[in-house]
């Protein structure tokens, strides 16, 4: 599924990375806990989170996430947006809650990140 399809499915707003919407996303994972993300994240993951500070962007960069979708209408702060631009990580924001976001993506064929080894 491409980021563009994900954006349309979630009726998400693109905060940065408009020119990267053709990126192909193979799997996703969601958590508000960055330590969780650092434990289960795999390179290429689409990160779904309600944590909107700069640490979400740093965490995405550390694990080579493809993009971040903020749920519950969360908006990253200025520092986060600036970092994401530097790092080339697209940021999207959807008004949907975490459960609905995951459910929609899953039911449209986007699998979850595999269990930690």
């Amino acid at each position: 599924m491409t980021l563009k399809e994900i954006k349309e499915l979630l009726q998400a707003e693109v905060i940065t990375g408009e020119d990267s919407l053709d990126k192909e996303i193979m799997f996703a994972g969601g958590s508000d806990l960055m330590s969780d993300v650092l434990a289960f994240g795999k390179p290429g993951i689409l990160l779904l989170t309600g944590l909107s500070n700069a640490q979400s962007v740093r965490t995405a960069n550390i694990i080579d996430a493809k993009a971040i979708v903020y749920v519950r209408g969360k908006q990253p702060d200025e520092a986060g947006i600036k970092l994401a631009k530097e790092m080339g990580i697209p940021l999207l924001s959807t008004k949907l809650m975490m459960y609905a976001t995951c459910g929609l993506l899953f039911s449209h064929g986007l699998p979850g990140v595999s269990d930690p080894s």
Binding site: D32, L33, M34, S35, D36, V37, L38, A39, P43, T49, L51, N53, A54, Q55, S56, R58, T59, N61, I62, I63, D64, A79
Partner: protein, 148 residues
């Protein structure tokens, strides 16, 4: 083991500086990529140093990361001055945390940092003197044999 360093570099970390937290780990990741470290080791080392950096920011006054790379291994040494850890076995348990509400709001403080560092590293050592500080040695083997 050879003494020949590919790279040795030090980075300062300020305790309590939540705004800049994670900067050092972001830079270290860039360096590791640039010098051509295997991508899977880059990720494991970056995750480990990020959790360790966050611990210094959250629990210590100040700290220093020394990144050394030899042909055999990648060594991340974190030394901090701060409260230290009285019971290391307890601190190493998944879920044990003394994080404050503010730290949890940043997405950390689930008590999974130290266990995850240990899981990612090929060798991991932690020593601490309560009231003085904590030292972590996080080591990754760069030749195939000792690798995880």
């Amino acid at each position: 083991m050879s003494d020949e360093y590919v790279l040795s570099q030090k980075f300062k970390i300020k305790g309590g500086d939540f705004g800049k937290a994670g900067r050092t780990s972001t830079s270290i990741k860039e360096i590791l990529k640039e010098i051509g470290i295997d991508p899977s080791i880059v990720i494991r080392a970056s995750i480990s140093v990020y959790e360790a950096e966050m611990n210094v920011v959250m629990y210590a006054k100040k700290g220093m990361v020394t990144l050394s790379v030899t042909p055999e291994e990648l060594h991340l040494k974190l030394e901090d001055e701060g409260q230290g850890i009285a019971d290391i076995d307890q601190a190493m348990k998944e879920g044990f945390s003394t994080a404050t509400h503010e730290m949890r709001e940043m997405g950390f403080g689930a008590g999974m940092g130290l266990p995850n560092i240990k899981k990612n590293a090929d060798r991991f050592e932690i020593t601490s003197i309560p009231g003085k500080g904590t030292t972590l040695d996080i080591i990754f083997c760069l030749n195939k044999t000792g690798n995880k």
